[in-house]
């Protein structure tokens, strides 16, 4: 033992090391927890579409029912993206010379579909079924947010597994009378009474699966 091996400043490093390691660990944990969360990564996704179709105009101001275009929601797993023909039902006569609608007319003429960009995209191993939700009284707005106020559709909810499970474990708050499913502004007057009614009317429909195979096959 003759004297010190390391210069004096290394003691400061040594003393700060636990702080750095602890703080670094905390930083990484926080970063992963919040930064990697779908709330941060997916919410707000709003790609530009080939045609600037405005839900705000169609569903909001003009009050078109969601099911006029997405006509398979009550019958099948997927909420259909309408074919160009659906657009042309009206636009054959309305705004026939609009620049913005040129791709729609082109598509109608050529028969090639418009390539819309998917906004709400679940992983392929999730078998989400629109009809199972819509016919049991889960409103569109619960998962898609106020589409009727969006010019360009954006993802409002995280659509993470935890977020799905929250509702599957306690679904009553997200349910409404069947005739109000597509109503974007509906609010429960008396949630407790509504829950009672829902229970009486639809017993087992109020028990969505929370097992793995409920959504993954």
């Amino acid at each position: 033992m003759d004297g010190n091996i390391f210069p004096a400043w290394t003691s400061t490093v040594r003393d700060l090391l636990p702080l750095a390691l602890g703080g670094g660990g905390l930083f990484v944990a926080t970063l992963v927890t919040f930064g990697f969360s779908p709330k941060a990564l997916s919410v707000g996704y709003s790609p530009e579409q080939p045609v600037p179709f405005s839900h705000k105009l169609h569903a909001g101001e003009m009050g078109m029912d969601c099911r006029y275009c997405h006509n398979t929601v009550e019958l099948g797993a997927k909420a259909a993206i309408p074919p160009t023909a659906t657009c042309m039902n009206c636009h054959e006569r309305i705004r026939t010379d609009s620049e913005l609608l040129a791709p729609v007319r082109e598509s109608a003429a050529s028969g090639l579909p418009i390539e819309w960009n998917r906004v709400h995209d679940l992983p392929d191993y999730v078998f989400f079924d629109h009809s199972a939700h819509v016919t049991r009284g889960v409103g569109c707005v619960e998962c898609h947010g106020r589409i009727d106020t969006m010019d360009q559709v954006r993802q409002e909810k995280p659509l993470s597994m935890g977020w799905c499970l929250n509702c599957h474990r306690d679904p009553e708050g997200a349910m409404r009378p069947l005739d109000q499913v597509t109503n974007m502004t509906w609010e429960a007057g008396n949630q407790a009474a509504l829950t009672e009614d829902l229970r009486a009317a639809r017993g087992r429909d109020l028990a969505p699966p929370t097992t793995c195979s409920g959504c993954h096959r």
Partner: protein
Amino acid sequence: MSSQYDLQILQEIEDPTIRPKLIMGESTTYASLDNDVIGIIEGFTQKTSIVWYLMIGATLSVLTMLGGIVAYLIATGVGIWGNQSPVFWGWPIVNFVFWVGIAHAGTLISAILFLLKQDWRTSINRFAEAMTIFAVCCAGLFPGIHVGRMWVVYWLFPIPNQMEMWPNFRSPLLWDVFAVGTYATISLLFWYMGLIPDLATIRDRATTKLRQGLYAVFSMGWTGSSRHWHRYEKAYLILAGLATPLVLSVHTVVSFDFAVAQLPGWHTTIFPPYFVAGAIFSGFAMVNTLIIPIRSIFKLQHIVTLRHLEVMNKVILATGSMVGYAYAMEFFIAWYSGNPYERFVFENRAFGNYAWAYWTMVSCNVIFPQLFWIKKIRRSVPAMLCVCILVNVGMWFERFVITVSSLSRDFLPGSWNYFKPTVFDYLTFLGSFGLFFTLFLLFVRFLPMIAISEVKGILYKQNHTGH
């Protein structure tokens, strides 16, 4: 393999008036102990170094092969192994239990024997603890690569996540993660703490700046002041107390992996004590297997004496007999239970399609260790090395018999199948030895194999008797 010290012990032991010393050699002093042990690290320039480089070259090649296999496994899937319906727990789990079992000797020697004030532990505890940690590394590898999707292996741990998905807390497989994790942590801490005074000795003897600096960092400013020693010994005692229940708990929980499942051949209450005894049995056999060549290569026969080896042989004999008792009791209970499935499994084990494995296991684990009743064999270095290697083989077969033979013929004869390992099963197992021995050779090269400071305490006791 027998040295002058071994011969001296053989003479002394026949004379009831002499008790052979734990640390031998007339001229053994504190300084000579330092030279003998740390000299191995410092003097690594001559003959030993060529052998060492050759050996680590070999083990590194095997380790590299393991890396290649794991990469291929991740790219391809667990189908490269022989795991096939109904034997989904094939060699990976067998190897896992094999290595965890070996890992038991270290803590038993360092914690339980410390609390029982068994002085002979000091010569072998560092060695056994190192072996424990390396064996746990090998054990940890197998569940990690057996899960199929290794990139989500962190799902083994209950980490909050956006899926709100948790491991099944009722599953012994999760308990296993905690049991082995705790064991690895405590063993590592225990080992490292014991190393600190010795690392400081190496630091103080160092002749090069690099060595001095490195060992200074890892000895954490140890000066050997009485205040340091006072705290060190308290902490060591506390760690020993904490580690003691782990010796029993880890392999108990490992046995739950089997015992909690409702499969005849697995679902038995004898499993926890039986597994713990088997683990200590295999661990001591591995310590002996490794230390016998090491003590003669590095001339440590006066520190790890024949007396140490004999004591370990006695532990092997005792635990081997317990294991033998457990084998017999399993059969008795299978008969006594009157359960036809249980009876079938055990008849099948001894006389069915895996009879060859069963009788290999019985001869290696029950019959050969009984030779240690004979003094001559217990005290003969070559003989004990043979028995210890056989025990290692036998204990691997024990896990193979339990895992594979029970699964391959379950309730439904229609699903019966015979497990065939693939070349990747063999190579993965071989690869784990590459990992083990690479770590071991690094240990031999860079760390003191003997707990010098503790052995010095024994030397002091030995030289200051009669008050």
